[in-house]
Amino acid sequence: MQALLSFEQAPPLSAPLRFFLSAPLFAVLAGLLLLWSGPELFASRWTPAALALTHLISAGFMLQVMIGALFQILPVVAGANLARPRLVAKLVHSTTVLGTLLLAAGFLGRPPLAFELAVFFLAGGLALFVVAAGRALYGVPSTSPTIRGLKLALFGLAVTVLIGALLAATIGGWLALPVVKMTSVHFGWGFVGWGVVLLAAVALVVVPMFQMTPPYPPWFSRHFCRATPIVLSVWSIAEMADHQASLAWLSGAVVLVAVAFAGATLSLQRRSKRARFDATQRLWCVAMLCVLAACLLWLLAAVLPGLAEWPQWPLLFGVLILSGGFMSVMIGMLYKIVPFLIWLHLQNLGGGRVMAPNMNKVIAGQRIDRQTLAHFASLALLLAASAWPEWFTYPAGIALLMANAWLLLNLLAAVAFYRQQRSKIEALRPAMVSG
């Protein structure tokens, strides 16, 4: 076995890992916030604590995993190498972590200036990432739907950040834009234009690769990532112009986008060659079912006035999308990406003389299975808490905290495994040189 990477080419292990290790900490904070604020958090989606919680999960957990994964995926899947990855990773990581913490503090009304500083750090860090990733992708021909999807997702991120900054300037009193409409558009671009498009672009590669399924059907891989930003753009214009006649149909089209992705993925999973689903497959399956449930809930709220008036339905919808959809998929991805990365770097350190241990040994299967169950328990309790806050808020807070502390421990176990194996390889090095 020969060397796999030259040291100049290898994206440093620390670049994606620093993001992956921070992600669970934000979800632990979200659990603590639930315990601190109690059932009042679920009074409406607009309570300060609910807004802080939403952003700890979306701008905290999700964003950290997505950016960390892109540091690895861009060179591997698209052959697009970020210039100075170590420096860019450090800058983007520190600014986004700080920005998200300040954003949550800002929503909770303390300390003064937290909100303004949060926007400065988050928008600055993400703008740097968009430019660095955009430069890496510039000139890379869109030879596959995944490469095209990655470019479009990056565009979706840029739009989300821009609208978020405008929204913050409006809340700060510098601009006079319609806050509720802008929030919907920010939400749409963040979750669909960036989140779903990135997920779909990556899924085109990783679902067949890691779940042993046939490829996505051509109608999906060719058109999904391209059609989504177009649908979103038309919907955004109708939303801002308050064009009620077309808004219901266009909102339905955006929901249909999510249904198409979830439906196509579940249909592939049914044709997996694996006799028994592994944890990643279970996490993806639950995620897609949650997305379908959220879409059904949205549809029912649109046609049943009784449901639309129930103040808890948007919270239930939010938990299905955030914890059920995005978090489940991302935990499943982490359990494939982190062991692969560690295996790759160990293989490279061995220089072809020492074989890296099997990838499945990086994080023990039993640890992964148990943490996956803990995540599902936290999802069930969060769903219950959004419907009956007075009964379930505290158990949900404890479950969210524990499931994510466990996830962090599993990721740290992978890092410890890497360090231990690296020491072994370094101890063998003199013998390798003389041999």
Binding site: M1, Q2, L4, P75, V76, V77, V205, F340
Partner: protein, 75 residues
Amino acid sequence: MAAEVVIDARALEPPEPLLRTMEALEHLDSDSTLVVLLPREPYPLYRALAVNGFGWQTECRPDGSVEVRIRRQST
């Protein structure tokens, strides 16, 4: 006589395709060609080939899979 060694890695889970390819390269004669069939373009493999002194040609097939033909580079 120039021989061809073929690895069909289209149905293998990572990192198996990379491992099998690198192992086959260990034993590749200077006048032989290793043909690897993969479900997508293997950018990490290209880097490993460049580091270890191999040349390659990639052909994309209509079904989306790729065929990578690898030979030792003459020094």
